[in-house]
């Protein structure tokens, strides 16, 4: 049995450490498709988080009743029920938003983040931890969508939340609101996040090496570094 981590950690790990978009590369379809404007991005992230939290809670509560052969089918039915709730509520309350998101609200069913968390976490942990984990992953997804849609909306249509932020002299980058722009922005963001992680790792490694030097420990092999976790 692995050591239990604190409840706070259960939430915060989703924000960056195992961020569903940049680290796990799950749920890429909606990330690319709906991030034309920040309002769409936020709506999508909130809808997904709602489904993620409630299906994680439900699956965690009934996890001991589900025979393992039919667990995936059970998860899908639970997820599909919550997605139906979101879809119907959005159609009734926010018809315009629902129209601009098109088939992507129903497609939350096959968003791999939700099935992934259900299989990897909620099926093995209690309700409180599962909800925290779901909230963390939802928040991580939210951050990724806000960053993506913020960049695309500002550069592509000069606006932020619908208000013009760049002067008229700035020629909008049409490519940003086209599908091609989504792929390119996402690729660049992922690349830079890898770069940042690598930089940080190297800095930690150097800090550890110099620390060993100070205490006079000469032999710094790769094994020693691996043991220290850098």
């Amino acid at each position: 049995m692995k050591k239990q981590v604190s409840h706070i950690k259960e939430f915060t790990k989703g924000l960056w450490e195992i961020n569903p978009i940049f680290k796990q590369i799950l749920g890429t379809c909606p990330t690319l498709a709906v991030t034309v404007s920040i309002v769409n991005g936020i709506a999508m992230a909130l809808a997904t988080t709602f489904v993620l939290v409630f299906s994680s809670l439900m699956i965690s509560l009934i996890r001991k009743l589900i025979p393992s052969q039919v667990r995936i089918a059970t998860y899908i039915v639970v997820i599909a029920s919550f997605v139906t709730i979101v879809d119907l509520v959005m159609k009734a309350q926010f018809p315009e938003l629902s129209k601009s998101l098109g088939p992507f609200i129903p497609l939350i069913v096959v968003n791999c983040i939700i099935l992934g968390r259900a299989e990897a976490f909620a099926s093995k942990n209690g309700p409180l931890r599962s909800v925290l984990d779901a909230l963390g992953n939802g928040a991580g997804f939210f951050i990724a969508l806000v960053v993506m849609s913020g960049i695309r909306e500002i550069l592509g249509s000069r606006t932020f939340f619908g208000y013009q932020v760049l002067p008229n002299a700035f020629e909008p980058w049409l490519i940003m609101i086209l599908p091609a722009g989504a792929f390119i922005v996402f690729g660049l963001l992922m690349g830079f996040s890898n770069l940042y992680v690598e930089r940080k790792k190297n800095l930690e490694r150097e800090a550890l090496i110099s620390q060993y030097r100070r205490v006079g420990r000469e032999e710094i092999t790769d094994d020693v570094l691996k043991e220290a976790g850098v």
């Binding site: 379809c29 129903p106 497609l107 830079f192 690598e198």
Partner: protein, 190 residues
């Protein structure tokens, strides 16, 4: 004529992968080698056509007459899951070589959002039966085309000197962006 427009639109102009962003997971995951890209594309096309047929029948003969449209999402996903399972069993019985070629790709197709997206889009646009089937064939052809082109590019990309943090998924996405730009050239066709 109408049908031809639907086919070309689904395959090229509104390509499922490059302009609707459906089926990105296999597009990134299974586009390493041309041979596996072709197998994956064929398996997906096959399931897409079947899904188009079954989901049309289900929606128009069961859900609409009994006013059960709100069950659309759960019923479609269950039908797709059952269909994939069924196709797997049939292929296993009928053709062993085909089963070995497609084997690992079949279960992956259930969670491919292009399949559910196809069923939902066809229902949303109120396509007739024949239109739905052609839509499925076109979407499958488009998916296969995008996957095979991407696999071809990635085989060359292995030899290129890509900066280390950009290797793997990031460079694939950037290349996909350029490919999407190229596919925009089809926009004038319809």
């Amino acid at each position: 004529m109408e049908l031809l427009v639907i086919f070309i639109s689904a395959a090229l102009v509104n390509n499922f992968v490059l302009s609707y962003f459906l089926g990105i997971c296999p597009f990134i995951g299974v586009s390493n080698k041309t041979s596996s890209a072709i197998s994956m594309g064929m398996a997906t096309t096959f399931v897409m056509v079947l899904t188009a047929i079954v989901s049309w029948l289900l929606f128009n003969l069961v859900l609409v007459p009994y006013k059960l449209e709100f069950l659309q999402i759960p019923s479609f996903i269950l039908v797709i899951a059952a269909l994939v399972q069924f196709v797997e069993m049939v292929i296993k019985k009928v053709s062993q070589p085909l089963y070995r070629a497609l084997g690992i790709f079949l279960p992956l197709i259930t969670t491919n959002c292009a399949i559910l997206g196809l069923a939902l889009l066809a229902a949303m646009r109120e396509y007739g039966f024949l239109e739905s089937v052609i839509f499925g064939v076109g979407a499958g052809a488009g998916f296969t085309l995008a996957l095979v082109i991407m696999a071809g590019i990635r085989e060359e990309l292995d030899l290129a000197d890509v900066p280390k943090p950009f290797r793997g998924a990031p460079i694939t996405l950037i290349v996909a962006g350029i490919l999407a730009l190229a596919f925009m050239g089809f926009a004038g066709m319809i």
